[in-house]
Amino acid sequence: MTRPNQAQPPAQPSSATVIIVDDDAGIRASLDSLFRSVGLETRLFGSPAELLGGSLPDGPGCIVLDVRLPGVSGLDLQGQLVRQGISYPIIFMTGHGDIPMSVRAMKAGAVDFLSKPFRDQDMLDAVTAALERDALHRAEAATKDDIRAQYETLTAREREVMGHVTAGLMNKQVAALIGLSEITVKIHRGNVMRKMGVRSLADLVRKAEALGVSQTRRTTDQT
């Protein structure tokens, strides 16, 4: 993890939110102040139940969570959030170094694990990294959504053509395979390139891979 210069404000959009879950009001208040001092938004929750029942922001964010909370343990909460489709990166805090627990937390996908009391910079770095990760994740998710939307506009025949083309078949081969004239295949292929918004075959292949439709040939070969 890279550590930005302390004086530098993090390069996060102002809409990023840190969700703080701790049963200790003092800890909540101090974290709230710390994150706000660097321009982050915060949401405070006293218990996992409050978090699960409360409304969460739409924009990028991360969760800062005490690993030992009354009721549900922090690790259990992590599992519940995943099941609910909430995929904020989680930074765990613990009152004292608890190695087995930190190992479990990291394996379960925690971004970082901090012992109280922590250095503010360590916490901010962890949050920054978590937010970056969330942004990346969100960006990837957004791209995938765009490609799927373009793919949705293709006709069944065009999708078939796209599958074979991205699998590396020549127009002639495709025409023979699906029983069309080479001219017709060419027209379908042109439509595909236009609708998918690509200029080269290489771009089309990348998008097909993102969509998971790049193995059409193997499927076709098998039929």
Partner: protein, 624 residues
């Protein structure tokens, strides 16, 4: 011969004389023989018989004379008749006189018989001639058996002086008094007070001795017993290791009687008048002090003790006040504890018992027993110290079990302080410092700093090694402090703690930390019993008023306690926990009992355990 027999024979004789007088031609005063008939009649000892006999004889004499001689000649037969009549008359007169004397004597003898003393008469030779009823009853010999016997030999009398000396003193003065020992017919030894008087005949010559004896055997035995008893008690008084004071409280009784208050008001009255108590102390007059108490007080003599009594009793009027009230209310005895201030100034704790006489006219006889309890006190103190030491060790062990929770609990405010401080710095270092935010963060720092300090104080208080202190406590506060100590530990095991305290519970008297320790122990046990078990984990602590006791229950929803373990649960070194010392519950129980309460447990395996503790509540008001 019976009285009727005498009368009969007297009449027969008189008739026989009459027949001889009439029928025989004897020339003589045959009628003189009537005298014999009269004497016979006199033997009946009745005046009437004598008179009847005499009258009959005179009539018979006259009839005989008239029958034999008519009234023709008043010659020698008439003279003989007259002589006979004269003889009869004189005899009658003498017999009557004798009868009167006998009657008088008999009356005197009856009087002697009425006496409760043994009275007998002996002649100069020592032969018994009279023996009264009491002598018969006490000595056991009847009059017939006794009369004619030698008195000294019969009674086996033993004299403390020489017998001859007694006799000569008797002759010289006519009297003798002394104590002798005699034996009864049955062989019992009697102690007898003897009073002898010499009897003289009309010529002044001594003829006999009237001995009057009083049986004093019982009186002497009682006296001897009394003397022995006195000696025994004196030995006890002198040799006992218990201090004894003999006091005269009759002056005190008078002072108490003069008070206007009676009964229940008396205590209040006396308590309000310390002057009276001081004055009353002076009225309790010390008669004697035994050596043990003199030694206890460091006094060399009873007199030295009495002289310094005010100094010795110290200023503790309280114990004397209690004794005074007990005395006034007619108690038989009173016990208490106080301190004696020795003449060398050292204080001696003592236990005392005052015994009052059941009768108020014997108030001059009050005994006070005093025992030096220095050693007992020291042993008690040592025991208390050992108990406190053990309780402290148990508290240290308990906190050891809680160390992870405590570390976390202290760490929380510290983490908050660090983060708030750093956040404050960031607000301050902004291009335009946000002072409002800075102020808020400093406020957090201060609050969390206080919080950390409170936690440390709480733990330090709990770990303090101090002798038990009796204070008046609000149980609600004790419960709050105890739950604060274990809250984090219970939360760690996901145990929910429910506290239900009845409002307006009366205060209890006791040691805050010890009671806290009991609750902490019960709560931790409850939490550990449920740790790692499925299902809801709840500890419920309830405090209620239970009659004249305060009841506290700690109930868990754990597995309960095995029936086999229940009776041993409070035994020292009994534990079901791995690495447990087994002292927790033992200490809890002894602590609760030292506070006058009870600690018990009820459990149904599978559905949790309930510890129930009671504490007597105090009448005093809790200090604010």
């Amino acid at each position: 011969m019976s009285r009727a027999g005498l009368r009969f024979w007297s009449a027969v004789l008189a008739f026989a004389v009459f027949m001889v007088d009439v029928l025989t031609p004897l020339e003589g005063a045959v009628a003189v023989l009537y005298v014999v008939a009269i004497l016979l009649a006199a033997r009946t000892n009745r005046r009437n018989d004598i008179v009847v006999a005499a009258t009959g004889c005179i009539v018979l004499t006259v009839v005989a004379y008239l029958t034999s001689h008519d009234l023709q000649t008043i010659a020698s037969p008439a003279l003989r008749a007259l002589v006979s009549l004269a003889a009869i008359g004189i005899t009658t007169l003498l017999v009557l006189q004798n009868h009167a004397a006998t009657t008088r004597l008999a009356a005197q003898a009856r009087l002697l018989n009425l006496s409760h003393d043994m009275i007998f008469v002996r002649d100069r030779g020592g032969v018994i001639t009279f023996w009264n009823k009491t002598a018969e009853q006490t000595y056991g010999w009847s009059t017939d058996e006794a009369v004619g016997q030698l008195a000294d030999r019969l009674l086996r009398t033993s004299y403390s002086e020489r017998r001859e000396a007694i006799e000569s003193s008797l002759l010289e003065t006519g009297r003798w008094e002394g104590r002798v020992e005699q034996r009864t017919k049955a062989g019992a030894v009697l102690t007898v007070d003897a009073r002898w008087a010499l009897q003289h005949n009309h010529l002044g010559k001594p003829v006999g001795v009237l001995e009057t004896h009083t049986d004093v055997t019982d009186r002497v035995a009682a006296h001897n017993a009394l003397v022995q008893s006195e000696q025994r008690y004196r030995r006890m008084f002198d040799a006992s290791r218990i201090g004894v004071v003999e006091e005269d409280w009759s002056g005190l009784r008078a002072a108490l009687d003069a008070l206007p208050a009676r009964g229940a008001e008396l205590r209040d009255h006396i308590a309000r008048h310390p002057d009276f108590v001081r004055q009353a102390r002076g009225l309790a007059r010390i008669l004697d002090v035994n050596p043990a108490l003199q030694k206890m007080a460091g006094a060399t003599s009873a007199a030295a003790f009495i002289e310094n009594v005010d100094k010795l009793l110290g200023e503790n009027d309280r114990s004397f006040l209690d004794a005074l009230v007990a005395f006034a209310q007619g108690e038989r005895f009173h016990e208490g504890e106080t301190e004696l201030v020795r003449l060398d100034g050292r204080k001696v704790p003592v236990l005392f018992t005052i015994t009052f006489s059941p009768r108020s006219d014997e108030d001059h006889d009050v005994l006070v027993f005093v025992i030096d309890i220095t050693e007992r006190r020291q042993a008690q103190d040592a025991l208390l110290a050992a108990q406190a030491e053990l309780a402290h060790a148990a508290r240290v062990a308990t906190l050891g079990e809680l160390s992870a929770s405590i570390a976390h609990e202290v760490n929380q405010p510290l983490a908050a302080i660090v983060t708030s401080g750093e956040a404050g710095l960031r607000w301050l270092r902004r291009d335009i410092p946000d002072l409002k935010e800075v102020a808020t963060t400093i406020g957090h720092v201060v609050a969390q700093g206080r919080r950390a300090s409170e936690i440390v104080t709480r733990i330090r208080t709990f770990l303090k090694k101090a002798p038990p202190q009796q204070g008046v406590l609000h149980i609600g506060e004790v419960i709050e402090e105890a739950t604060e100590l274990v809250a984090r530990e219970l939360a760690r095991d996901d145990v929910a703690l429910v506290v239900e305290t009845e409002p307006d519970l009366p205060p209890v008297r006791g040691d805050r930390i010890q009671l806290q320790q009991v609750l902490v122990n019960l709560l931790i046990n409850a939490g550990q019993a449920m740790s790692g078990r499925p299902g809801p984990r709840t500890v419920t602590l309830r405090a209620t008023l239970d009659g004249d006791m305060l009841g506290i229950t700690v109930q868990d929803s754990g597995p309960g306690i095995q029936a086999d373990d229940l009776p041993r649960l409070f035994d020292p070194f009994f534990t079901t926990k791995d690495g447990g010392m087994g002292m927790g519950l033992a200490i809890c129980r002894s602590t609760v009992e030292a506070h006058g309460g009870r600690l018990s447990v009820a459990s149904t395996p599978g559905s949790g355990a309930t510890f129930h503790l009671t504490l007597p509540h105090s009448q005093e008001h809790a200090l604010p």
